[in-house]
Amino acid sequence: MKAQAGGYVRATDVSHALRMLAEADGAGRVLAGGQSLIAAMNMRLSTGDMLVDISRLAELSGVTDDGDCLRIGALTRHVDIGRDPLIRRFAPLLSEAVDHIAHAAIRNRGTIGGALAHADPAAEFPAAILCLDATLHIQGPDGTRSVAAGDFFVDVFTTDLQEGEILIAITLRKCAQGEHQVLEEVARRSGDYALAGLCLIRRSSGHRVALLSVGATPVLATGAMAALDTGTVDEAVAALKTEIDPPSDTQASASYRKHLAGVLLRRAVARIEGGQP
């Protein structure tokens, strides 16, 4: 099928983009890497969009060292996240996530901000960002605001981003010495959306577990986290199974996904305890 767009404008800066979104009066769509949006347009799931192309806004791209934090521009491409030395050192979960995202040509154009704003519950970045307890920075007509990852993902393909707002950047606390970050997932084929995936962080302050493909949003498994902090892996797996309610679809049933989540948790813990980073 052929896309049917209402109009296109290339933003010259963020304030221009915000002005154009306001002008579009509800039909505005922010076009970043376009790897999900254009696919949806080509399937006519979305027609008449007024596209505000922010993909050339260099100020929204790149990874910077902000002292205790890393700041990742929303337009930083997957491929750049994957090879960025700061990310590799201070947010290895994101580096690892990139290897699982689709295929090389998609990673060459897709952006982290686009992936987060799209909020596909089967995508890796939303779960990873949630696991990292990152902060999302949003600019709108009334200025900028920040939202914790835990409050950002609202429902399937739905976030806290409001009409007329643009996701600008993500900040996250740097990985500490001795901290472990791993991602485990199972997909039918390389690059496919995972049947289920799990991010695990072990810090001196405790564990964080976030899952993908097991709910309407990425899921923070607080029960499993608490069990890992104080108990055994078996207890964590048991807790995990009570706190997720995965969907059934043509690829797998809820029961399979629930089982898989437990397997992934065991594997993630084993990887950390096996001494692998």
Binding site: M1, K2, Q4, M43, R44, T47, V186, R188, R189, S190, G191, D192, Y193, L195, T250, Q251, A252, S253, S255, Y256, H259, L260, V263
Partner: protein, 793 residues
């Protein structure tokens, strides 16, 4: 002239050698010419409004808004096209009892599957046509749906086509020997229920047609991605009321077909009808959603089957009850009963046994029609047969290789007629098995498997022997009344510069037809393949033929090419003998020159002979025949089909925590008779294997109970990709058919025939110590964990 294939050093020995494909360089440079690459003056585009319901009465169509949309030129309803195009019925006389209602190019008052075309919107671009299609307002009154095959014949299931009386399209029951007695007295009877999933072909190039009707010439030209141009010519002429001679079908580069593009599709006929009405070129290129909902589906079978064996593992009988559901119509003109029919023909194929009962029950339902797709019926029959043989071997504690050795027809037993009444001219099951075992180092693999098991790693080895039906005679379609040609022709001519042009009725779909033909013609005439140009895919240019299906290109088209090339060689030598005042028997043609047959000394290059014949014919004896063009047609006559055989093996690992299967390696030994181009044959086998692996592990069309297709995208219908596929070792045994000079049988479907069974048997070999077994394809991670009992809710 005779060809001594046994001597690799014979002159012009191109048959049997790997030579590059003449059409590959253009394709790697993006210089192919697929239908969508063609733009004609005044060309317009069509998009279809398709039924969103699996079954619904069409109660009203409002096209006003669509007609007013920018770029839209005209809108057609089913009734509009019914006025210019007669309906068709997909039945064959020899498939007794097969029934199907008349089908129109677009639904007239009732839609019977999701995706059936209802309205056509013609516009200046595809995008504009889609915009217009979105504005068409169709009122539907939903009707009860039939979706489940096993209850389709129940009394309380609605009848999809009331005029047909019931939902039974076709049933065939075959009985040989005394099956009841064999099973009653057997040492062991093993039974199982098998399911093969609904597949589709996923050709990378979607279905594509561009039809130009030129009323001034009174000629229709269809540029069509098809496997059977002459068949399409006949169909368009017949249903659009044109003389057959005034329909020309041109088939250039085709982006994959695998059987998908050998059928008559309602939207493609609609495109031709619209072109005839509008008097200008109309292009239809299916988009990917249309591909999933309207390309034919296949392989949707459920089977109850059992095997009876004696104490030694000797097979006493098979009993097979196959069911399949074919969608709303039997597809024209090949029909949708052929797949089930093949299951009956092929079960038990490699084995010498006496008692056979098999039936196939083919029912209608409100889904996309199914029809012939690569290796029609074979993967199903091989899975049933080889699955049961392995289960019997396990019951008896016999090695899977050994039980096969005890039952396969001896290599010197031929000709034989199987319990399914298939006639085998010459097969090589034992030689093929020997070669397979040595290629895979079976004993070493068993050691590796045992060692892995000690580490808690579950690996399995699966073997699958098979037969493949190739080189079909008119017994496949022609006797049933279909104008589908089993014969094929080739015209070979020499031009003044000594170059050779060959026109063939078989078509190129990427499998290497043109390379194979160029080798045959080169050897037959006595020139280098680079001197031969092959022309295929134009009904107004090539001899009449069947095209490419049922692995017939090399065996039928190749033989026609060889005979015409050898006839041309003979004509050339007649002229040469006169010119050189030599005895014809003392002359030969080698590498483009007339030579002395004994010494090989050059007597005259072909371009000199061409110069004389075409420009100085006055210097030749007045009554000397000098036609440097010959045509031969070939049809098989001794056997209805040339069966091939082979055996495959899969080595894989099952992750019993996740259910994921990792393919480690795959082997296939195949006997397709004379091999013309070893590389092309190997690649046909590899590509075929991977399509079979798709069926084993990934491919499955899902519908809900209302007949809605749930996974109509490439992201949701999974086909094999590079990362998950294994390396494949291919070996050959050559048992040429004696029916032809060339001795070639087909090779295009063997890979697909055997791969799913090999994988199934390998998974079950891995799972057997855990007490689990899978028989429901594809073997998804979830199905494997359910078999293991890991998930039970």
């Amino acid at each position: 002239m005779t060809l001594n294939f046994g001597n690799p050093n014979r002159p012009n020995s191109y048959i049997g050698k790997t030579v590059p494909r003449p059409n590959a360089p253009k394709l790697v440079e993006g210089r192919g010419r697929y239908v969508d690459d063609i733009t004609l003056p005044r060309m317009v585009h069509v998009a279809f409004v398709r039924s969103p319901f699996a079954h619904a009465r069409i109660t009203g169509i409002d096209t006003t808004e669509a007609e007013a949309a920018r770029g839209v030129l005209r809108v057609f309803t089913g009734a509009d096209l019914a006025a210019v195009c007669t309906p068709w019925v997909g039945v064959l006389a020899h498939l007794k009892g097969l029934k199907s209602p008349p089908e129109h190019p677009m639904a007239v008052d009732r839609a019977c599957w999701v995706g059936e075309p209802v309205v056509a919107v013609v516009a200046t671009s595809r995008a504009a046509a889609e915009d217009g299609a979105a504005l068409v307002d169709v009122d539907y009154d939903p009707l009860p749906v039939v979706t489940d095959m096993m209850t389709a014949l129940d009394k309380d299931t609605p009848v999809l086509h009331p005029e047909m009386g019931d939902n039974l399209a076709f049933r065939r029951q075959h009985e040989e020997g005394d099956t009841d007695k064999a099973f009653a007295t057997a040492h062991k009877v093993v039974s199982a229920r098998f399911t093969t999933a609904r597949h589709t072909g996923v050709t990378l190039e979607p279905r594509s047609i561009l039809v130009d009707w030129n009323p001034a010439d009174g000629q229709m030209t269809a540029y069509h991605a098809t496997q059977a141009p002459h068949m399409i010519q006949t169909v368009l002429a017949k249903h659009l009321d044109l003389p057959e001679g005034r329909v020309r079908v041109i088939c250039g580069d085709v982006g994959g077909s695998y059987g998908i593009k050998v059928h008559v599709y309602p939207d493609e006929v609609a495109t031709a009808a619209i072109a005839k009405v509008m008097g200008r070129p109309v292009k239809f290129i299916a988009d990917r959603l249309e591909s999933f909902t309207t390309d034919i589906h296949a392989r949707d079978h459920q089977i109850e089957a059992k095997i009876a064996v004696d104490e030694t593992g000797k097979i006493l009988g098979f009993d097979v009850d196959d069911w399949t559901a074919i969608g709303a119509y039997s597809v024209y003109p090949r029909t949708s009963a052929m797949e089930g029919n093949q299951v009956v023909n092929l079960c038990g194929g490699p084995y010498d046994f006496a008692n056979y009962r098999a039936s196939t029950t083919v029912v209608f339902q409100n889904k996309t029609p199914t029809c012939q797709y690569r290796a029609v019926g074979h993967p199903i029959a091989v899975a049933i047969t080889e699955g049961l043989v392995d289960m019997a071997a396990a019951e008896l504690g016999i090695d899977p290789v050994e039980i096969r050795r005890r039952n396969m027809y001896a290599d010197d037993a031929y000709p034989v007629t199987s319990p399914a009444k298939m006639r085998f001219e010459g097969l090589s099951h034992h030689a093929s098995m020997d070669k397979l075992l040595s290629l895979m180092d079976y004993d070493a693999l068993r050691v590796d498997q045992a060692e892995a098991r000690k580490r808690g790693v579950h690996r399995g080895i699966g073997i699958a022997s098979f037969i493949e039906l190739t080189n079909p005679s008119p017994f496949m379609y022609g006797i049933g009344g279909a104008r589908i040609s089993a014969q094929d022709g080739c015209t070979v001519r020499m031009d003044p510069d000594g170059s050779i042009v060959a026109l063939s009725g078989v078509t190129e779909q990427g499998q290497g037809t043109e390379a194979m033909l160029s080798q045959i013609v080169a050897e037959g005439v006595g020139v280098s393949p680079s001197k031969v140009r092959i022309i295929t895919g134009d009904t107004q240019v090539t001899p009449y033929g069947g095209g490419t299906w049922a692995s017939r290109g090399a065996g039928i088209g190749g033989e026609a090419a060889l005979r015409s090339a050898m006839a041309l060689r003979d004509s050339i030598l007649d002229v040469a003998a006169a010119m050189l005042q030599s005895d014809k028997s003392k002359l030969d043609i080698r590498d483009g020159e007339v030579v002395d047959a004994d010494t090989g000394a050059s007597r005259m290059p072909l371009e000199e002979l061409g110069r004389i014949v075409y420009f100085r014919g006055d210097t030749l004896p007045k009554d000397l025949p000098r036609e440097l063009v010959q045509t031969r047609h070939y049809i098989t006559s001794e056997y209805p089909f040339a069966f091939t055989n082979g055996v495959q093996a899969s080595y894989l690992e099952v992750d019993t925590d996740t259910g994921i299967v990792t393919l480690l390696k795959h082997w296939c030994v195949e006997d397709c008779g004379r091999i013309i181009n070893p590389q092309l044959v190997d690649e046909q086998i590899r590509g075929g294997i991977v399509q079979g692996l798709g069926g084993a592990l990934f491919e499955e069309i899902h519908y809900d109970a209302e007949g809605q297709l749930l996974n109509g995208s490439m992201a949701d219908y999974l086909v094999p990709m590079a990362a998950e596929m294994p390396d494949m070792i291919i070996g050959h045994v050559e048992t040429p058919t004696k029916e032809s000079t060339l001795g070639a049988k087909g090779a295009g479907e063997a890979g697909t025939a055997g791969a799913p069974a090999a994988v199934m048997n390998a998974i079950n070999d891995a799972l057997r110590p855990l007490g689990a077994q899978v028989t429901h394809m594809p073997f998804t991670p979830e199905r494997i964990l359910r078999a293991l009992g890991t998930i039970d809710d």
